[in-house]
């Protein structure tokens, strides 16, 4: 279980308790966080679940697969702290993480 803060582009915040094993993309959809789309349901192919991860948490997340690396060059407004939220799986280690939703996914 981890408590995670989503900050929408509008500034609206959601503090969410998420069970281990759930993807951040799924949790965002369940919570109605605006701006996460997730067309491919977590298959790492649509690049519509882009999110910015607070720098201090980046090294606590599983490393990117080759496909995620490729897709992260293809999202709107990529940054050094960009990730695909469907590839971030919640664990106790992520308790307190802060995530920002980009302006748009497509």
């Amino acid at each position: 279980m981890a408590k995670i803060k989503f900050i929408e582009f509008s500034g609206k915040e959601h503090d969410v308790e998420i069970a281990n094993g759930t993807s951040i993309m799924q949790a965002a959809l369940d919570e109605n966080v605006r701006g996460i789309v997730g067309d491919c349901g977590g298959s790492c192919s649509c690049a519509t679940c882009h999110i910015y991860v607070d720098e201090s948490w980046l090294d606590k997340i599983e490393v990117k697969s080759e496909m995620e690396e490729i897709l992260l060059e293809e999202v709107c407004d990529p940054q050094d702290n960009s990730r695909l939220s469907c590839q971030i799986i919640v664990s106790d280690a992520l308790d307190g993480m802060v995530l920002r939703v980009p302006e748009k996914q497509f």
Binding site: R34, D39, G41, S45, C46, M67, I70, L71, E73, F106
Partner: protein
């Protein structure tokens, strides 16, 4: 009102033109009374609730695409699906082919086409300025998607209409009847000459990319695509991206024609366009349902669906499921909350979603800039008869 509609019978016939005109009351009853529906006449099962579709789509072992995603083809005994027709492969074969194009159809690359797409829209729409009659399909919807795919592939403008007509005809059904299983969708010919020519005249286009792409094939061999595979890829992309996007443009004309108040809000503030396109996609999915082959017995809602059955996933029902979408039957561009499921889900989720969205968005902006006001001429509109898409073959309107 038809009899079954009046009595509230739980029923859905995908081939009946009267139901096809407004299937939504039927879908609502399926969701409420028969979340696992069985149709005896055509021998298929159907899922209609959002959560069910979302859940079972990801189980590609039980719900296979390897016999296609179209009911009539799934039932065919001697169906042959060539390598590279990835829309009809299961993982890992699917993964190995799809990965080649996943990196090409991304949001960034598709948005980069925006100015070219805008110019193409202008070419379709400028001649209509000053006219009083406009047909959303003939004058725009039938042209833009093929033009854009041709643009991507590097095919000369003058040859695009011929190719589009050939593909669309191969996916059409006779009104009220199942599709002829002998029809060879996605396998049509017509691109060979270009592929041969491109081999010797490489350029900055998708065809050249496909000819040069290196990938690891399903047998683990690192190689390039064969010419046949390149042709199959092009046919899959053109077949999946043409009529669907044309239907999106038709539904845009229809829904905003039916809701002039919302249309005026968008015309006044074009920043509402992306949300409007998402709401149009939710309300009227151009591809309303996709089918899967059931590989093993599976229990759903207390009932066994046997191996060998056909399962329809009714996306257009899921999009109006009240448990996800409050006031789901209502068209509301200001809607907040869950994204729709119009582009499918899971490994087969639409490859061209980012492209369709740019076309829908730019197309609507360019229409509204020229014709902010229209009234539909429904007496002369025609609904399609196709097993794979639903929408208008002709949608005339009076421009104001």
């Amino acid at each position: 009102m038809s009899e079954s509609n009046a009595t509230g019978e739980v029923y859905w016939d995908p081939y009946r033109p009267d139901i096809n005109l407004d299937p939504y009351p039927y879908f609502k009853r399926l969701r409420e009374q028969a979340p696992l529906y069985y149709n005896k006449e055509y021998d298929f099962y159907a899922l209609s609730r959002f959560d069910d579709i979302n859940k079972y789509f990801s189980d590609t072992t039980t719900f296979s695409s390897a016999r296609s995603d179209i009911m009539e083809f799934i039932k065919e005994d001697d169906l042959e699906i060539p390598d590279g027709m990835f829309i009809w492969h299961d993982p890992p074969r699917h993964t190995s082919y799809r990965n080649i194009v996943t990196r090409v159809f991304t949001p960034r690359r598709m948005n980069e086409l925006e100015s070219k797409i805008r110019a193409y829209c202008a070419r379709c729409l400028d001649p209509m300025i000053g006219e009083t009659n406009f047909n959303f399909i003939d004058d725009f919807g039938a042209q833009l998607p093929g033009g854009v795919i041709g643009m991507l592939l590097g095919i000369p403008d003058e040859d695009r209409d011929i190719i589009r007509d050939r593909i669309d005809n191969s996916l059409r059904t006779e009104s009220g009847k199942p599709m002829e299983s002998s029809q060879s969708s996605y396998q049509g010919e017509g691109f060979e000459d270009y592929v041969e020519w491109r081999k010797n005249n490489p350029s900055n286009d998708l065809m050249t990319d496909l000819l040069n792409a290196e990938f690891t094939d399903p047998d683990g061999v690192k190689r390039k695509l064969t010419t046949e595979e390149v042709l199959i890829f092009i046919n899959v992309i053109a077949g999946a991206g043409n009529e669907t996007t044309s239907r999106l443009i038709g539904w845009t004309g229809k829904l905003l024609g039916d809701h002039p108040d919302q249309r005026r809000q968008i015309a006044k503030d074009l920043s509402l366009v992306p949300a409007a396109i998402e709401e149009i996609l939710r309300c009227e999915p151009p591809g309303p349902s996709v089918a899967r082959y059931v590989t093993k017995d599976v229990e759903i809602h207390g009932q066994i669906v046997p191996a060998g059955a056909v399962m329809q996933f009714i996306l257009s029902s899921a999009n109006r499921d009240e448990s996800r979408f409050a006031d789901g039957e209502k068209f509301n561009i200001h809607r907040e909350g869950s994204p729709h499921i119009t582009f499918g889900r899971g490994v087969h989720a639409c490859l061209g979603a980012a492209l369709a969205r740019v076309e829908g968005r730019v197309g609507l902006e360019e229409m509204l800039k020229r014709f902010p006001d229209w009234e539909l001429d429904m007496a002369n509109a025609e609904m399609s008869a196709s097993s794979t898409t639903r929408g208008w073959d002709s949608l005339p309107a009076f421009l104001r």
